[in-house]
């Protein structure tokens, strides 16, 4: 799974905290974009197979360009549901860091731990859903 797919659903507070720690590793950061906007969601109609627009979703995005100590430039992008610009910006910092090999192991470990927490949450939810399964009988 793409690391951003985990970071977008992870605790914003923890993502921002990690990005703050890693920020010092960059020489400079240029914020190319940090804004809210909407993303249109196409959906497939199961009756006729037509794809249509179900509705729009509010998102926050950030696009940064940063310079590594080696002088190499690297870009990063982040986006999440809602309007938390800081969360999106932190995601972009971590994306740039992963792309530039800055603290990659630390970030990957963080992503793995968040992925495990999200999977556990899903599993707990699905277990509760499973408990509502019904079996129909005809008398």
């Amino acid at each position: 799974m793409h690391p951003l797919s985990i970071l977008s659903r992870a605790s914003a507070h923890e993502v921002i905290s990690l990005a703050d720690d890693i920020l010092a590793q960059f020489e400079e950061i240029q914020v190319l974009q940090n804004r809210t906007g909407i993303v249109m969601l196409p959906y497939r109609d199961s009756a006729r197979g037509v794809t249509f627009h179900l509705g729009e979703v509010l998102m926050a995005e950030a696009h940064i360009r940063s310079r590594l100590p080696s002088g190499r430039e690297v870009e990063g992008y982040g986006a999440c549901l809602g309007r938390d610009l800081q969360h999106a910006l932190a995601m972009a910092v971590l994306d740039a860091a992963l792309r530039g090999g800055v603290e990659a192991e630390r970030i990957e470990a963080f992503v793995a731990s968040q992925a495990a927490a999200l999977a556990a949450h899903d599993s707990a939810l699905l277990t509760k859903v499973e408990a509502t399964r019904v079996t129909m009988e005809t008398f």
Binding site: S5, L41, C80, L81, S123
Partner: protein, 417 residues
């Protein structure tokens, strides 16, 4: 001609102040309480507002004092200020994380049926004890509930282990019916570039509408409006009696392309409702020569509706209307134009409440016409405003008076009216 009003600005300011005094102030905590405690109300606003933004929908509800139409209007107004940054990857219901899935047509469907989070099968009795219990009793009850939840959780865990919950798979009932030959195979619709899908937010709705526009309009339609027309169809003004083929509630991933690498990633999940209804319809039978042989046969037809947020009643009624709109000779209230034009919450509520605005000049003109016709009739000895002379009711409200500029409002008492 314009009618000027003086002191309006101050009166409006005071009216808003009075509104807030009576409805109460709100803050971020109020908004987050609404978001947490009333997800179905928030979902309704998001569905009709056509924007998935739970925090903002809750804010709109708090700001409008719970007036749904105002809240929907505010959400749509906000949406119009935002740039469209991307198109997400199209969602297929079979890929959703499903939490509720039922069918009234078949008891045994692939993947089975799960009731999920619902109060459908509970007693609709007000829990008055919530209002009456004291703090001590409340503590005891919470402890007891926590114990029960723990036991239920253990049972649920065992059920999950038995059925391999991590591999939940709920194929679409319609696809299963197609495999079984109960429904015709789907025509191949190449998935278009998302920016080329017809979009009611950018193009006018013309009839017959492209199916993509019909379904988008139903998705953002007013729940009450869709229900009213759908209910009329169910009660007998429609020619079909559909069965719920499938209702599913779940979470859909919103996947967009990374602008640097073009890889897809998820920006999060949203709640989605998906509903299908099915009915048997007559169609012309085709003979060996692929020509109609004059006979008729029955075939199954699906109606479909989906929306952002969890809203079962709207999607079931919407799916029934989808079916009704395709019939050769629908009831006038179930034609595509009638349904789609009259169920937009912002259009319909906006048109209705615009009548509250001053119409003094419009109505004054109407009054002039009524008076001049009345005068002409009186002079010709043909009667009055409301009568043709033979059926003139004495003392009727608004009866013509010789006095110039006589008010239409009756001068008599209520008893005389």
């Amino acid at each position: 001609m314009y009618v000027a009003a003086r002191g309006g600005e101050s009166a409006i300011r005071n009216a808003e102040r009075l509104y807030r005094d009576l409805v109460g102030a709100f803050d971020a905590e109020t908004v987050h309480t609404i978001e947490r405690a009333m997800p179905y109300l928030v979902d309704r606003v998001m569905g009709e507002g056509s924007l998935y933004a739970p925090e903002l929908a809750a804010l709109a509800l708090a700001q409008s004092g719970g007036d749904l139409y105002e809240a929907v209007l505010m959400l749509r107004a906000f949406r119009s200020t935002q740039p469209r940054l991307a198109y997400a990857r199209p969602v297929d219901a079979s890929s959703m994380l499903v939490v509720r899935r039922i069918s009234a047509a078949f008891k045994d469907i692939p993947g089975g049926q799960v009731l999920g989070p619902t109060l459908d099968y509970s007693h609709r009795l007000l829990q008055l004890e919530v209002l009456d219990r004291d703090a001590k009793a409340q503590d005891e009850e919470e402890r007891s509930q926590a114990g029960e939840q723990e036991e239920d959780g253990e049972e649920a865990g065992m059920a999950g282990e038995r059925s391999g919950v991590s591999n939940c798979n709920y194929p679409l009932v319609a696809d299963w019916q197609r495999d079984a030959g109960l429904l015709p195979l789907l025509a191949v619709h190449p998935c278009p570039d998302a920016s080329e899908i017809p979009d009611v937010t950018r193009e006018p709705l013309l009839f017959p509408a492209p199916r993509a526009m019909r379904l988008q309009s139903l998705s953002r339609a007013d729940t009450g409006g869709v229900l009213a027309l759908g209910y009329a169809n169910m009660r007998g003004y429609g020619a079909v009696h559909p069965t719920v083929n499938e209702v599913r509630l779940g979470y859909a991933e919103i996947e967009i392309a990374h602008p640097i690498t073009n890889e897809l990633f998820s920006i999060g999940r949203i709640r989605v409702t998906h509903a299908e209804v099915v009915t048997a319809l007559k169609s012309a039978s085709v003979g060996n020569g692929a020509q109609p042989d004059g006979d008729t046969k029955l075939h199954l037809e699906l109606g479909f509706c989906a929306t952002v947020g969890w809203n079962e009643v709207k999607t079931i009624a919407g799916a029934m209307l989808d079916l009704a709109m395709d019939l050769p000779d629908p009831h006038p209230s179930h034609t595509e134009e009638y349904v789609l034009y009259h169920t937009d919450p912002v259009e319909s509520s906006g048109f209705c409440i615009h009548y509250k605005l001053p119409h003094y000049v419009t109505f004054g003109s109407e009054l002039d016409v009524v008076r001049s016709v009345g005068e002409a009739k009186r002079v010709a000895g043909l009667g009055d405003y409301y009568g043709d002379g033979d059926h003139l009711v004495s003392g009727m409200p608004g009866t013509y008076s010789e006095r110039p500029g006589a008010p239409l409002v009756p001068e008599g008492t209520a008893e005389q009216v």
